[in-house]
């Protein structure tokens, strides 16, 4: 049986009926495609078990919000099929690159929220005077050198 099949379309009632193999398209993919179309069509989803209980098929009823002819109903069904593929690919990419996407977002948020500002240091160094020089950086080279010379 076909993986995706346009079962029927009825121009008089403005409807198309599609059936999809549930082992090929997951429910999440179906939801994504249906959600993308609900501004233009009425969507009703159903599920049918196969005879003998082996697997199932999703049934999609699409009805145009505006009066559609045979061609536009067929186009709507085609758009739905394309959206299914797009959603399936999107989910695959997210699954493959999920860790990388998470890492980039984490770094971006940390960078935006955690940047050190001058006022963050102000309280810690409150008791230090600007003339204090605990590391001796401000001592001229000559003084250091002359001391060393005297000692030697």
């Amino acid at each position: 049986m076909a993986k995706l099949k346009l079962e029927s379309f009825d121009a008089e009632n403005n409807t198309a009926l599609l059936s999809l193999d549930s082992s090929v398209y997951t429910l999440d993919v179906l939801y994504g495609a249906a959600y993308a179309l609900i501004d233009r069509a009425y969507v009703l989803l159903d599920k049918q078990s196969r005879e003998g209980g082996k697997g199932s098929r999703f049934i999609v009823h699409l009805r145009g919000k505006r009066k559609l002819n045979k061609d536009t109903i067929a186009n709507l069904s085609g758009e739905f099929s394309n959206e299914l593929l797009s959603q399936a690919l999107r989910r695959k990419v997210v699954k493959q690159n999920g860790a990388l996407i998470e890492e980039i977002v984490t770094q971006a948020i940390a960078g935006a929220a955690g940047a050190a500002l001058p006022q963050d240091f102000a309280e810690e160094e409150d008791d230090l005077d600007f003339l204090d020089d605990p590391l001796g950086i401000a001592v001229p080279w000559e003084e250091k050198f002359s001391k060393n010379k005297k000692e030697s």
Partner: protein, 77 residues
């Protein structure tokens, strides 16, 4: 008087709470009865307000579906 509409919404695809939300939104325009039967929720729509312009059953289905999807997205897997 408008005809009764019967909808069958599969339980694995529509959340009960989303259907109840939809009933809450549309109950000013019709009378709704929701029953659980086997794998489906059966929703009967009666007494649709004749002033209603548009496809009430279609809008109801879209609302229930959209709310199901949004609720499932919010629920951690």
């Amino acid at each position: 008087m408008s005809a009764e509409i019967k909808l069958r919404l599969h339980r694995s695809m529509y959340m009960a709470q989303a259907i109840k939300d939809a009933i809450g939104i549309f109950e000013d325009f019709a009378r709704f009865e929701m029953k659980r039967q086997d794998d489906h929720y059966n929703v009967d729509i009666h007494d649709i307000d004749p002033e209603v312009d548009g496809d009430l059953a279609g809008e109801f289905c879209n609302f229930a579906l959209a709310h199901t999807i949004e609720r499932k997205r919010k629920t951690p897997k």
